[in-house]
Symmetry: C2
Subunit: 410 residues, 2 copies
């Protein structure tokens, strides 16, 4: 088959970032409770000092550190226990050179004290006095106002992903409504005369649509939203009409299927006919995934033509659609998802192609082992058993048994 334009996968990702990075999806505001996994649309600047007051980090006695100079097990510094600070209340009592105040962990430090002595370092004497058995330094066991975060400081930058661990500081600082990038909307279009939609029993020669639900699940796992599903047979006018509507209702259209040359050519032609369409690549140095099509449309919209087989479709999705998604959301980070492993078996790759080989992962003697999953083209069950993709750059032509490899986790 003739490819319209063949580019390396790395160069295509760069083109995708350049083309779509210029368009940024609009922001919306969501309650903190629903913000997890979203992409921040603005820098979050601390409106206050955290903590807002000096807090004890221990259960113990707040006192002036200077009065503990020279304290030892045999000659302790002795203070009168002059009061207690209760959790959640302002410290109204004060310490001085001869008086200390009991503070639980997290309580507000009282005036006159610059450190807290742990109860383990003290002894309560019978007459209500407290013996402190070692010298303390100023600030010891105290989290000072603003130690964690100062008013005006950047807490989280625009483009950060709100992983669960990012929620606590936002809550602690009182952020209740969070500006996030709206989720990109993806329309899934299934093509192919042989495909029947869910619920229809396939006649001889027909197969069920397994790509559309699979692409939807991958899209949602990535942080996208599905705007709708549609389907076209291989009639050009029908496909053009379906694509126009899909483009209208979404930011990005994922055209699934077409494993035969005729179908692929046909999809590419129709994508090229969409108003303002610019084909960025048809033919990618990606294996599997060579027949992938990437087009940009006015307003930062995109169309991806994805191969019909599960592993190929997933490889193109992760290698290319992921780059689009990160570009339009302005996402500056992603979950850690590439690991190093030892190759179990040898692997051949095609020169000049970035190769994505499905593999399983297992641990042997606290070493991660990647075993390539080989199977017949067209299998729908094989890829469901994979844990990741072994990703080989185009300059690597093959790998020996035991090689150190990079695995993109699924």
């Amino acid at each position: 088959m003739k490819f319209f334009r063949i580019v390396s996968a790395a160069a295509l990702r760069e083109t995708i970032r350049e083309t779509f990075g210029a368009f940024r999806l609009s922001a919306e505001t969501v309650p903190l409770r629903s913000a997890a996994s979203r992409v921040l649309a603005s820098d979050m600047i601390s409106p206050e000092d955290a903590p807002a007051f000096d807090r004890s980090q221990v259960d113990g006695y707040a006192l002036p550190s200077a009065s503990t100079t020279g304290a030892t097990e045999s000659i302790p510094s002795v203070f009168r226990l002059a009061g207690r600070v209760k959790m959640g209340e302002a410290a109204t009592v004060t310490a001085d050179t001869v008086s200390c105040i009991y503070v639980p962990t997290g309580a507000m430090m009282p005036g006159g004290a610059d450190c807290a002595a742990k109860i383990e370092d003290c002894e309560e004497l019978p007459d209500g006095m407290i013996a402190v058995f070692r010298p303390h330094s100023p600030g010891e066991n105290v989290l000072r106002r603003g130690d964690d975060c100062r008013e005006g400081m950047l807490v989280l930058a625009k483009g950060s992903v709100l992983f669960p661990r990012r929620i606590a500081p936002l809550a602690a600082l009182g952020f209740m409504e969070i500006p996030v990038v709206r989720k990109p909307r993806y329309a899934v279009v299934s093509t192919g005369d042989e495909i029947v939609p869910e619920g229809i029993p396939p006649a001889p020669g027909q197969i069920r649509d397994s790509n559309a639900p699979s692409l939807a699940a991958m899209t949602e796992a990535m942080g996208g939203e599905i705007s709708g599903f549609s389907r076209s047979n291989d009639d050009e006018n029908s496909l053009l009409q379906v694509l126009r509507e899909a483009v209208e209702s979404s930011d990005c259209v994922l055209v699934s299927g077409g494993s035969s040359v005729g179908e692929r050519d046909h999809v590419r032609r129709v994508i090229g006919e969409l108003p303002g369409s610019r084909i960025l690549a048809h033919g990618v140095g990606l294996k599997p995934g060579k027949p992938a099509i990437v087009a940009s449309l006015p307003g930062g919209k995109a169309v991806f033509g994805l191969p019909g087989h599960p592993a190929s479709s997933a490889a193109v999705f992760l290698a290319l659609v992921g780059a689009y998604h990160e570009s339009v959301t302005g996402q500056t980070e992603a979950p850690a998802r590439t690991v190093r492993a030892r190759l179990d078996g040898s692997l051949r790759s095609s020169a000049g192609m970035e190769t994505w080989q499905p593999c399983t992962l297992s641990e042997q003697n606290s070493e991660l082992i990647a075993t390539p999953l080989f199977g017949r083209s067209g299998s729908v069950t094989l890829f469901s058993r994979a844990d990741g993709f072994l990703v080989l750059p185009p300059e690597v032509e093959g790998l020996e048994n035991g090689a150190d490899v990079s695995v993109r986790l699924l």
Copy 2:
């Protein structure tokens, strides 16, 4: 402080699995479209052969392989092109020793043919004849009926997680309603006299509740559902009442907070007063997380007491609550989430404790580097910058710079 019962983290996980693994949450049926990330409640057995008919894996000519014996570039086997199979239609034409049939990739193989010759291995001659330039073997370039999956075969076992890559085979085989384990319901209870809920400006000595939203986000990321939030001050009767209601409305109660000894003792006492409560551990060989409390209640319900600081809370959550979640759902697998990395800096750990040290991850010369994140206890921003936890087993007392370490990804 006195611990009720100190156990190693590994032994406690085993106790949790034994205690709660005997209870299995009920199943429910969801449409395939909403099944992603759920846990399968039944074995999925293929209702049919896949593919349901012999399919060509190439664009080419279907023919009997025996008629290509001895074919070469100079003396090809020659066939009359007797017809074409269309995508999505039953093959009504047949091949024979002198006739071949054009088949696109994925089309149904016609009768009389046992292999497909790629168009690249053939030439269309001017008179409508097809020359085949090399011998073919039976089954070559054909995915036979049932090659991928046979009727009655196990497609996915009960307890599997429906990762996006698991969706395609279920769709291909026509599964539309999927039996999944219902999501465990978690109630989050915030304790502490110093905690104010969202929306209320903290007075001096008070702080906002950052643990509840953070625990909720972790719970949902793990596959749980939040049944509700509640809050209690440190009054025992009030806490007992709040806990009783939380237990009523959920499968598992996460009691957050209490960094002072008094608060912790108090929470443990009240958990022990719940009807039928059995304390499995109070005091765990886990650092941070030693004051964690785990209790089982009748009917497979659980209560976890979690520390108040973000990193400690997350460590207990991942190390212990995760084991509960996997037990009651019967989940037999988890996403790959432990990686090997090289330690940047040295690390001390407490003898006899399983140590969870927050760290960042970076790649240098295609090697993963784990850098421990150290900071003051009580910081709410520090942990939000972590990429994972360096996990050190209790028998490791410390690690030198450059050591090979295991990192649990966040």
